[in-house]
Symmetry: C2
Subunit: 457 residues, 2 copies
């Protein structure tokens, strides 16, 4: 049976009943993630899938009617990759949120995609286990979304990125077929690694409906926290590069520049920080936590930092809370375009020089935080909103991207391409690779109904 | 200019001169890797590429003449994936063996594909660095081959597999175009992860001509070695599963069954081992090495093992040398089909039960070693050679594969599919996924000239 496009809603409702939501509230909410960008008009409907069969039915009917589908989770993305617009179906898997299996002996968990990262980790903790990917959004973002965007976080240099923490995926293709990718074993090289191909594919290849995750044992022992203040952001970046170069491996190493510190202090009602000063917040954990913390304190002091070291977990959480308040602090200043470039760790000081240059050239302040342990920077462009990103912000962001690429870096370390960076994608990949990636997407989705206009456009 | 197939040799010689080797010795050697399987007839020629341009020229001419190309490194593979036969060009990158860049501050190295794993690690050691993938063949296998097969090794449970240790690849496509995949940064999610797609692709997508590797700092501190003897192989497997389930993480945990021990002891002129007894050889390293070794010794004693613990590195190497002599010991018994199934770690005892059953049903002895820390088993089928694998060996291997799949495992943990396992590939992937993987390969290689008959056939 073939449906015409206007018939897709009727067909969906006949098959899925009240899981097809055409309320104005749901449709308008489905226009936007947390990128600050929204589709102009709402989608046709939001399908709240309850199980794999619902996802298959939706995609089969969408495929038959050539209706575009935008997979959604908690819509906490920062690149517009899950924004649904006119003529599209928003397919939400947020309600598929069960933890299906935990195997402490095999260090794996099997989950549905809609489970929140923090809820998963709360459920794993009594088993002495955790899933390492820890995006700053972990309290509100889903595991499926973490996988679809290739999310990162604070702990990546020591504990890896999402690609290192997923063994297998169940996915539904554009035509409704279900595939099981990957394996439950530590090792496995049977055929091409389609699991990795789906990680970070941002809904362009299929809909993730299940995941086999690689877990870790909870880290035991001390947690030590170091706060170091430097007179300039360049000095702080030099300090973090010196820590990495010395071969010590912190669990967390976060850098905040002066504008970021000022905004967070204002939000939290803390005393004003020293003008111009930047801060590193570093945590060590595991068996060597104390030794490593002392090494790091010595390195940072030698690099010109003013260093405080704490062995108290609560004091450590208090110090990190300043870093974790960055997003709300930016939101209090205006509409934010959060950027996400990543550079080799040794290039961090040079990248801060480039940001300072762009600030001068454009007469802007660009509050910047960095996961300094892995070279991933989040420069924030603030503008009066709501509305489209102003042209001069894009011009400054364009300079930022090109500077990162010149330094051997990448456009996006952990947020993805979505709609916000699609126009720069070919600059990094080159035209040949861009075309090959697009052709691969067409193998999975010949009609191009999955998340059209995102990533490849 | 288009060449007819008979003209490809002339065109190659005109372009590449003496890098085109048509000697009988080279062509006959190019028929085989170390799988025990060889192509019936030799290839047209062996091209010894000296640089990326040589690889591009070879592939461009091959593409124009629709001549199949088999990428080769040191030909130490164990699945026949690099065997070159009639009408094919063997394209060797073994001579491209330079270490181009080492960055201790960024923990990366850039290499050509032909560098031997052991040579790379010898060059990295003075920098205090290493590349973790450590296949048993590390002294004779290339980094490019390790990547193309997704090689594993002894240290994977603690230090990861190849997929965890490669950040970027330079590859030449079937038509001669050069692509740069991936990045030099810890994080990077710009577009689809084609780097991972090439890892383990066994020469079906393109030729790897360069790699950006993710390095580790050399582990400091003690290395402790535990040797534990158990009355049966099932008891030894239970011991290793108990170690994993207890949450201790050895660097190495190797299991040898009675037939393996007997063969190695005979080869090395050691006293005969206790009949029926199996052995675990375990190493711990890093800051907690001693504590972990003592925990493991207690767990294994409780599991019925007879345990010896050594804190001496040389004694540890001597104990591991028994494990490392497994391949020569098998070669001394006849021609070997080395299998490579992988199961979840908790299923290791059940998998040994299956092997015992197959031994009984087929009246065979199947000496088996296992990377018990990660659930990867190497059962060895010995037969009088040379020549094709006998039908009854394949029948027994077929039972082995199906048992591994039933237990939630995979056909190949680290050796790859090559020619030896291609007939089982669709059993594990399913027909839909098999076809999609094959279509993806066609995106890179529309004419199907790259390693035809391997993996997908």
């Amino acid at each position: 049976m073939t449906h015409t496009a206007p018939g897709v809603l009727e067909a969906l409702r006949a098959a899925l009943g009240d899981r097809v939501d055409v309320s104005d509230a749901a449709r308008h909410a489905a226009r936007a993630d947390k990128s600050g960008h929204a589709a102009d008009d709402p989608p046709l409907a939001v399908v709240h899938a309850r199980d794999v069969a619902d996802v298959q039915t939706t995609l089969r009917l969408a495929s038959e009617t050539a209706t575009p589908v935008v997979p959604q989770g908690a819509r906490t993305g920062l690149a517009g990759g899950a924004n649904a617009g006119a003529g599209e179906i928003a397919l939400s898997v947020r309600g598929m949120d069960r933890l299906l299996e935990v195997r402490a002996d095999d260090l794996i968990a099997v989950v549905e995609p809609g489970i929140l990262n923090a809820d998963l980790n709360a459920a794993l903790a009594p088993h002495g286990l955790w899933w390492a990917p820890d995006p700053a959004s972990r309290a509100i973002s889903t595991v499926g979304g973490n996988i679809a965007t290739g999310a990162g976080g604070l702990l990546c240099a020591k504990y890896g990125v999402v690609r290192d923490a997923v063994l297998g995926l169940d996915v539904v293709l554009a035509d409704g077929r279900l595939l099981s990718l990957g394996h439950r074993t530590v090792k496995g090289v049977t055929g091409l690694d389609l699991t990795s191909l789906f990680i970070g594919s941002e809904g362009t290849l299929g809909v993730i409906v299940g995941a086999t995750l690689k877990l870790r044992r909870l880290t035991t022992g001390d947690v030590c926290t170091i706060a170091a203040t430097f007179p300039t952001v360049r000095a702080a970046a030099g300090g973090s590069a010196a820590v990495t170069a010395a071969g010590v491996q912190p669990a967390i190493m976060e850098l905040m520049d002066a504008a970021s510190l000022a905004a967070v202090h204002a939000l939290l009602g803390l005393p004003d920080p020293t003008p111009g000063a930047a801060q590193l917040t570093i945590q060590t954990d595991g068996a060597a936590a104390r030794t490593e913390a002392e090494q790091i304190a010595a390195i940072l002091t030698a690099a010109g930092g003013s260093v405080a070291l704490s062995h108290d977990r609560e004091e450590g959480e208090r110090l990190l809370a300043i870093r974790r308040s960055m997003h709300p602090a930016m939101e209090s200043l205006g509409t934010t375009l959060i950027e996400d470039v990543s550079v080799p760790r040794s290039a961090l000081p040079a990248m801060f020089d480039e940001i300072a240059r762009i600030e001068r050239d454009y007469g802007m302040t660009i509050p910047t935080v960095a996961h300094a342990g892995d070279g991933n920077l989040h420069p924030n462009f603030i503008y009066p909103g709501p509305g489209e990103v102003p042209a001069e912000v894009w011009a400054a962001a364009d300079e930022l991207f090109r500077a990162a690429l010149r330094l051997g870096g990448t456009l996006t370390g952990e947020h993805g391409v979505g709609v916000l960076k699609r126009r720069w994608l070919a600059d990094e990949l080159g035209d040949d690779q861009w075309r090959i990636q697009h052709e691969i997407a067409r193998v999975f989705d010949p009609k191009g109904i999955l998340n059209p206009g995102k990533v490849f456009a």
